[in-house]
Symmetry: C2
Subunit: 347 residues, 2 copies
Amino acid sequence: MGKPRRAPTAEDVARLAGVSRTTVSLVLNGVVGVRIPEETRRRVREAAARLGYRPHAAARHLVRGRAEVIALVLRQTPDQVFADAFLPEVLRGLSRVLRKAGFHLLIFPLSPDHPPEETVALLQERRVDGLILSGPRFEDREWLARWSQETPVVLLGRLSDTPIPSVDVDNVQAAAEAVRHLIRLGHRRIGLITNAPLSYTASYERWLGYRQALEEAGLLYEEAWVAFGAFTPASGAAAMEQLLRLPDPPTAVFAASDVVAFGALQTIRRHGLRVPQDIAIVGFDDVPLSAYVDPPLTTVHLPAEELGLHAGHLLLRWIEEGRPPTQEIRLATGLIIRQSCGAGGGA
Amino acid sequence: MGKPRRAPTAEDVARLAGVSRTTVSLVLNGVVGVRIPEETRRRVREAAARLGYRPHAAARHLVRGRAEVIALVLRQTPDQVFADAFLPEVLRGLSRVLRKAGFHLLIFPLSPDHPPEETVALLQERRVDGLILSGPRFEDREWLARWSQETPVVLLGRLSDTPIPSVDVDNVQAAAEAVRHLIRLGHRRIGLITNAPLSYTASYERWLGYRQALEEAGLLYEEAWVAFGAFTPASGAAAMEQLLRLPDPPTAVFAASDVVAFGALQTIRRHGLRVPQDIAIVGFDDVPLSAYVDPPLTTVHLPAEELGLHAGHLLLRWIEEGRPPTQEIRLATGLIIRQSCGAGGGA
DNA sequence: CTGAAAGCGCTAACAA
DNA sequence: TTGTTAGCGCTTTCAG
């Protein structure tokens, strides 16, 4: 009862097994090229098991210079968190690769109310082996540049003109594909509701894809047909309202995120219009619930778990190889055709 | 360029400031009751700043015996992750309190494919100061009991008959309130779609609340009126299907999670029935999107961020005070009346 | 008020 | 093949 205050150390194991600490370390770490009799190994392992010995990660860190920890910095604002239904999935993909490599995940929410420097300082104290920044922002470029000279980083999302490896989807192509679908269905007046201000890379790129598809098809880009959403359904609802007030409203709209699309759907309903008969909608993200709104939303699938997985891979490679992989991974998206555009997607 | 291989240590700071390591430590940690001239303090601080010195967390951990890290163990299966739209919010609440106390958050997904022992081992190596288990399961009782003798734990969710502090909502009352709302609106034939098998505490308790409300009102509990969902909208859709096939289907149903309710809504639509005119629905959780389905879902609000916040508080208290707070915190829920029951909630 | 010294638990270079 | 030794970077008595 009064015994196990202190966790067993390698020393304890050594004593119990009747060997030295070195031997314990050698055996337990499975160091190769050392010929230790099976009998000794067995004794050590048994002693360790009996004591419930676990090496102390901090001590190991200190001497090996490796924390075996990477940090996930969440750059999401509260509004974005709300929009971000796939954090759990990203986490799953990420932690799967990490665990296999023996790494652990430290979470750092970096909301706008904390200056990045403060978080950077904390990260430094922790001596993490690497860092994944989810949802990088323009303001982050400076500290990232500095940081990436010392420690591996990978971006989940994108930042233009930076040599930092990143993983993301090809937003331009994905958005263009969504809009092309609308065009293919005969729409000529196609509106856009952005998912966020264009200062966000993803929003900007989706806007670009929208323009590109229009241009390919020889359709005019009309300023009036783009309305700005900002993460929330409410913002999507307002944007749709604005589009509907136009003298000749679009017959279809590309909502650059599902969440924003949900708001748009609501507005449309409130105006007594029907989707897709009166107006077609295509979303972006394929959040789990998009299949369950009315009508089920045609949307662009975002492979959340794979994003996490690849980010982890890339970071681990940098850590192992000691130099940046200089890679931009662009994961494929796919258009999921459901019923909000009136094509396929059976009842 | 070839310089900053090694991070500056306290030694470096001491040298630059022309003092000893002790002094550096004393000054930088703001140890009280030590009279060091302001001038010396200034010099130390300046040297530290100039070098960009950051104390090494692992070294500190080793000597102080405190990691300043707590672990969040996610017990969610993939299906649950899907259902769990509020992980980000919980995270936000949690990391807010932790940061204030100088603690960090290590994430451990504990999916069913890893034996708990393995994760426990990893947790031990990390020597975390405490642990929050989100979504505890019956099978966890054993290792939890053992663990909690050594290290603080708090449950996010509930496990019956355990002395481990926990924070949760009062599912029984919350569910009862939802059902009472239906009864108040005149419904007598009220069905239940569970959010998960009853082996899950939350499901069980919501089922209990359902029964309780029925009983209070003198209504009969009918086996046939409870259908089992399992996390996903698809399961909710199937459950609703089953209810609708009954000779005399319920006129209202309490879906024990919004996600499951979304599936139910879809089934109802497919049957050409209308909500709330033909059938009323009340959900549970108040996930962000529940206000944006058609019709907006009346539901029970789950205070996700506060759950995280309180869990953090409780854990920190245990860590600071050295003994379990023996507390069960039950956070208040509230019925959010929207339009899926045909009462209030204006258009 | 400040410095010297010990030691947290572990690994790894070096001897024996 | 195994043991001895020297730190990793920090805090913290204990002397000066």
